[in-house]
Symmetry: D4
Subunit: 235 residues, 8 copies
């Protein structure tokens, strides 16, 4: 546990008793556990073995135990439409389990821009922003343009036809004209939360006192293209 954070269990494609066994070991060692992508039926069966957990049917998260301490700062979790809520709640729930404070803002799609702009001042106060949208995936561009703090964009598989199960939103977010945002996989609310928490953790610890340096290595940057030639490696 490099961060004192136990590994999170990806629930998709695992059977209830498999999950139960893993969770048992995690609780024994860490006094807490988190399972993602779990339907209500399997959650119920796992909870029979490990009763003191909490299952949320929107985010499909099942968790046990409280975070050992609070992370500094706040993460805003913002989503475009009601259909994006499961992904937003996967982010929010994961963040809360990781000890982060979350501020939620839902249903602020770009086609009704005033609803978003009404929260403009609050948006700039968030230390990290997770912005979630399906269909054309335009929300993160707009939000990134409104704030200076880092934005993590999550495309969702919401939509039909030209939405291509989230691929359109994904490509749109990657192509976005706004600088200061990066992107995770389609529907990956969990991954965005983890990345956001890693930024808050860094904020907690402050910069490393021993600055990273690869000096002395043969691989540091060339001063010119001609000098860029690699040392011949042999296999």
């Amino acid at each position: 546990a490099r961060n004192g954070v136990p590994e999170v269990v990806f629930g998709e494609g695992k059977q209830a008793d498999q999950i139960s066994a893993i969770v048992g070991r995690l609780i024994a060692r860490h006094q807490r556990a988190l399972v993602t992508r779990l339907d209500a039926e399997r959650a119920e069966r796992v909870l029979r073995d490990h009763p003191h957990g909490h299952y949320d049917p929107i985010s499909r998260l099942l968790c046990w135990g409280a975070p050992p301490r609070r992370l500094p700062g706040t993460v805003a979790v913002i989503c475009a439409g009601t259909s994006d809520l499961p992904v937003a709640e996967e982010s929010a729930g994961t963040l809360e389990w990781l000890g982060a404070d979350v501020a939620r803002l839902n249903d602020v799609g770009v086609a009704g821009i005033d609803r978003l702009l009404a929260h403009r001042e609050s948006l700039t106060r968030a230390d990290v922003l997770i912005v979630i949208a399906g269909m054309e995936g335009a929300l993160p561009s707009v939000v990134t343009g409104l704030v200076r703090n880092p934005v993590i964009a999550v495309p969702t598989s919401v939509g039909y036809g030209a939405s291509l199960q989230g691929v359109t939103a994904l490509l749109g977010m990657l192509s976005a004209c706004a600088t200061g945002m990066s992107v995770v996989n389609i529907d990956n609310g969990f991954g965005a939360a983890w990345q956001a928490a890693s930024i808050l953790s860094l904020l907690e610890r402050g910069p490393d006192p021993r600055p990273a340096s690869f000096e002395g290595s043969a691989s540091t940057a060339p001063t010119s293209q001609t000098q860029a030639s690699t040392e011949p490696r042999t296999s």
Copy 2:
């Protein structure tokens, strides 16, 4: 200038005199400027008008002026192969212009994992990591697994055939099994640098004293799916 940072000029598809005019205004107002994606020929012509700048032929960056102050921490800029250097240097040069300290590590592709692992300890000291790779784009997954700080992955268009001009690396990075990384567009070394600098800026300022909150808004998170129904909006 929300951050005191002047807008960066995207040089691709702009003529030398257009760039010269924009740069003139930027220098007048901010005493510095940065142009990306500029070939040597146009750079030379722009430098005739604004001679105190510096052009780097690998990164294809042209810049004027020093950053007003240094950002805290270090960003590691790591790339898989020699062919990825232009993208890596676009990141590194942008970061330096933004006032960040950069530690470069080149030619550490996953097919020779020992070269990467030789720098393991240094990697963990970087406050943010930008990891750049073309072809199958596997390097960010491995690096993310070695460190706890945030990783920003940049796919490059290096490769041929099944590499699909960087699309394969892009999709691979988004699908990566490692948590704690996010992705920017193909060859977008600039965007990764900006995102990394926004994290260092946050580190400099610390968390916002007024935590973000959208309370009082009609749009905060539902406690259950049934309550998730949107207020009817009308157009």
Copy 3:
């Protein structure tokens, strides 16, 4: 209600009680409501709460109330094959709920061009035309060539193999050699109807007496490429 038209509810992925709650608020405020993409089972459950509505199993539309007034003109809703009917009826039903007069023409695919041409004179009388086709999606090109009024093309997911769930028809319509048509998403009969109604609404109101102008703005058109350079923005 900018147009006096209440927001339409997208039924896909919403539960009956969620829809019922939203519809309740809409009827209270506007005396009418429209839900799209609703299967018979959920429609029946919503109708139990709000009994004075009408459900159509082909279009899968559920609606309450009459339009406050008729729009001028007629919209022709034309489809290529029997399998495209659900999309055509989504268009037609939406238009009727919006107060537009609809003229339907079905099963006039281009492989039997005479069936279409038999209606040539009527086609030219339609003020707006919605043309719906799956498979190769060729019908809108032919119709657009026959008329001078605006054509809105709707690709459908009808077909198999190379039809790629409507993507082929979509790309074909966008590539069409006929000028005077535009395209909406696959199966989006609703969107085409809304666009058609917005044209009829414009027809009803006539041109705005205060012509749009962005004069005085820094962003009006350049007289030459050299002058096109943007004012430097700063973030």
Copy 4:
């Protein structure tokens, strides 16, 4: 000349003398002509044969003659970035040649939403809006949400990597959550202009006094799915 408008010549892939011959016939018959997608070199050679025309290097339009009369209303031509200008000017120039009044608004990308919102009131006064954007193509969604008149969206091939030469913007616009917009092909400023002009023409003529009707035809809409069965056709 159904509309009194001569056919427009698509200049791409045609040689100067071919274009010259076609233009000669068009001017003889209509006293005016328009050629699109023409580079400066071929334009110059065509102008030698037909000297009273005007060539614009941004839009790459070459035209002769004035429109016989002005169309009612105004079309707003709005674009996201400087690089989208050639497409925007193809729209604007085509509209002017067709006799429409154009209001231009450039460089109002969604990442700097305030620049767009500054023109909010003017936007609502435009009778038709053409909205042009590359990269993630989010601008049309935002604009459509601000106005009630019809919006025609034009994706451009501007961008790199995940932008896929305009395919990402195209798919994004088609997936957009905003209702009231339709889409034309990538970079097809001409097609959007033609569609916009066809709406203004309709506005000029008013609704057809003989409403379209396909009554009496065997192909009008079924009242239920069971009655939808096609008359057996034979080949």
Copy 5:
């Protein structure tokens, strides 16, 4: 009935009673009928109304009546693997219903080339060949190289992973190095049969005594590129 052949009913997506009604009209007029893509359950229900038909569960064809006369020649229907049989039998059954003689050859995939070559002499005797294959779709190339008569290739959706539901076989057949073959849609055994029968019909009638000619038309072939310019059309 241009050919005396009644229209064939595409069974996919139609309800049993819809099909029954259409079939009733077809039998009344033509004394025969053919329905494709019909599952056993709906076939049984249709047969209750029209009992003298025959249903084949492999090809999923349901038919009534005998062809009025035999077509000359033989069509070979050749398929690569057992899993391609439903498509092969859709071809064979359609051909038989159209009055053609069919010679079947199954399970002769290219990975066991001797099984195919054992029939080499018979292959050259077929007047038209329909060659059906999934996966890499290589069989039509090999067969086309062995014979001089026309080959119609049918890709099937058989395979997994890189087979992309038949798209790989389709693209492969279109790219084939063998000349003398053409291709129909994925799984479209029916379409291949119809095309083959149209060739046999032509064989029956012989060449048209009045040779096709578009002389006198403005659109016949240019003698040189310069003369290729189209007459200006006007809309």
Copy 6:
């Protein structure tokens, strides 16, 4: 020379002297030769070695010698737009070299359907039809619906944006609702001509007197799915 027809040389990617050598051998043996996809410069160089040939710059065909005899019947070569002419002429020229009579019809795209319909009667007299179109590729569907003889469709790479270099036209033709047509590769006018000529050759010879039969083979069609099981093969 199974058909007495020498192999045709694919000129793309071959050097002039390579082509010259092959052509020399072909002329020595067959007294005639055909090279496709040849630019004017290489054609000129090959003609220096083998002067009695003829080069056509539109079709890019270079040929020597006359066909030994005329094939029966006529092939109509029909194309949608002026830009499709090179492909149409590759078909027409190949057919003429193969001894077939060709009737050309150009610039009859579906957006101006009357130009096509003016030739309706002539179309039905063609024994085989090659129909060529780019962009949405709708022309073959319409033509196939007008005639009973076999249609071979050729998609072209003409178009931009959503045309995807001919892939859209290709997929559209394969998805077409018209029965009686098959498709060859993008821009493959040569392949369509060859297939058409193979049909005329069959017409010349008449059906094979020894009907194809694979009787006695273990691989003939199963009478039911249960019997379809393959003989176990071993490797």
Copy 7:
């Protein structure tokens, strides 16, 4: 039985009684049989007819009989995650049935590189390595870099969103920067095993005493491009 190995039955899409019949013939002739891709239900039904077999629910393999002799060497079957186990076990089980010794290593994904490196020395001892991974598919690159023996990579359909059902892993493996590996189809554990076994068989037999040679053939390699011209073939 070129190798004394009976053909393996692909169970997907075959009915239990079909499989039973084939298996009966195989056992009669070879005393053993292997069926792949079989679910438990059909396996049970086949085992009723042929009871002395063994079914494994993870690999979904059903087999009878022992290999006639052991192959020399060992194949390492290595997989990235628990979800890849069914594919890994399809490889391992097939190899065991073919008489190969298998060394399994599971759950050694690149995001936790130490788990893989802990087995570094053992990896170099494997004579052939099958490396299985989904998502970004990076494991084979890393493993190939660690060993000198041949690596066969198997992408799996494990993952979501940008994983595109295994296409991302497939393209990534093909683009890999590591030399010494080749790739089979998505989820094709069987194919990798067969290829590995063919290498072990070669190891068993040693190099062929009569070296392959195509001398005397007209098709051996050219000494220069000019001489590369093919003998004219005729059809």
Copy 8:
């Protein structure tokens, strides 16, 4: 130099002086070197610095020095068409530089299967086979069916339209119904040669006397799905 083989230099995108520097170091250390993907012009410049090398313009390989010893066995390098020769020669030349005996067979595409079958007996004598094809990529399937030794398939970018720059051949080879082959990247003749040589090296050394085993590891194969659960890892 794990194998005593120096790293091979990928010449694409490297400048002559960069290559010269790397080659200098390689020759100093290993007395030999190989550069791939080098055009004649850069080759000439590198040869000026290191004159005792040999450049082949077809394969675009530049090499110095002889292999220290011959590998056992023979590799057949087989290609479908003349246009595939550069890739075939990249394989053959690499193999020869690695010390392997090569038997070349060219221009044996599947559309003229007899040319391939004429070499049937020789094919079975090759210890490893590299089979190279563009367009539909069918040749490896046929060859794999004829031999028992391992086949490595190389798709090439030869072809047009539906060939999609080699993607069609690539997908076809991966989907192939023949077992016993694996695939490398498009045009990657080098990679196939390396893989083939690694098999011959294994043949030279024989199986490792210390069989690979991961026993004692927590990660060996589960005996049932329930036991497959991973040990909880923590980060």
